[in-house]
């Protein structure tokens, strides 16, 4: 299975962690991203994740390879949910095993940061108010053609 993967069902952390086991590794670090009940002043009821999976897996694998190369970690995995998620559910899991803890922590941080910025995954928040919105998409949307000055660089 690919080291970067998607799941429509709950992630099995014990099974993911077991994939990183290695007698040469003395350090393991993991990050779990959970569904939070609020964002930017809005009460969130549930979330919906969508991905362009073909490109997302490709870009995700590149990020994991970069992490292995930059930090010299032995193994790196990332699993991300798609579909509808409830408050408190595990949305994304990153795990790294390495000879020592320092590179494991750093690689783990690198992976989640890059995934958030580069991988084509979208999150729609459904609010308690009944409203909903795609994160990072609604505020940068131009309400009219006259809003041309509002540009987001990359």
């Amino acid at each position: 299975m690919a080291a970067f993967r998607f799941s429509r069902t709950a992630l099995d952390v014990a099974a993911l962690r077991a994939e990183l086991a290695d007698p040469a590794c003395g350090g393991y670090a993991a990050f779990e991203g959970w569904v939070r009940d609020h964002n930017e002043g809005e009460r969130v009821r549930h979330l919906e994740y969508e991905a362009f999976q073909a490109l997302a897996v490709r870009e995700g694998e590149r990020i994991l390879a970069e992490a292995r190369q930059r930090f010299g970690v032995a193994h790196a995995l990332c699993a991300h949910r798609v579909g509808d998620l409830s408050i408190g559910e595990l949305a994304v899991w990153v795990g790294v095993s390495a000879a020592h803890r320092d590179e494991a922590f750093r690689a783990c941080r690198y992976i989640i940061d890059e995934v958030k910025h580069r991988v084509p995954i979208w999150k729609k928040e459904h609010y308690v108010s009944g409203d909903s919105g795609w994160v990072n998409c609604e505020r940068c949307a131009a309400p009219g053609a006259e809003d041309g000055a509002h540009a987001h660089g990359r």
Binding site: G33, Y49, E50, A51, F52, A54, L55, A56, R58, E59, H80, A91, V92, I112, V115, K116, H117, R118, V119, P120, I121, W122, K123, K124, W134, V135, N136, C137, E138, C140, A141, A142, P143, G148, H150, A151, H152, G153, R154
Partner: protein, 95 residues
């Protein structure tokens, strides 16, 4: 890449060609579809997005989008070819 005059583009890039476009997230909702096959004379993704934005109530400007062609990131200036699968990528929000 410097913008080049369309007069010099190869004939094949400006003649009508059949493409597919896939939509995700906000663009999927605003287009009201996940995918479509279309015939266009747009030489690059930039003109193709402008053409689609005239048809659908898109609120995202090209400045905040990225482009993918045939499952890999591309450029707004990449010449489109018949059979290409094009995706306009809204601002991402994984994690």
């Amino acid at each position: 890449m410097a913008p080049s005059a369309t007069c010099c583009a190869a004939e094949s890039t400006i003649s009508p060609k059949a493409l597919t476009v896939q939509y995700y997230a906000l663009l999927r909702e605003q287009a009201g579809r996940r995918e479509e096959a279309l015939t266009t004379s747009a030489p690059t993704p930039r003109e193709l997005y402008a053409e689609l934005a005239a048809r659908y109530p898109f609120t995202l400007t090209p400045e905040v989008l990225r482009v993918a062609i045939n499952g890999e990131f591309g450029e707004w200036s990449t010449p489109l070819a018949a059979g290409d699968a094009v995706v306009f990528i809204p601002p991402v929000a994984g994690g």
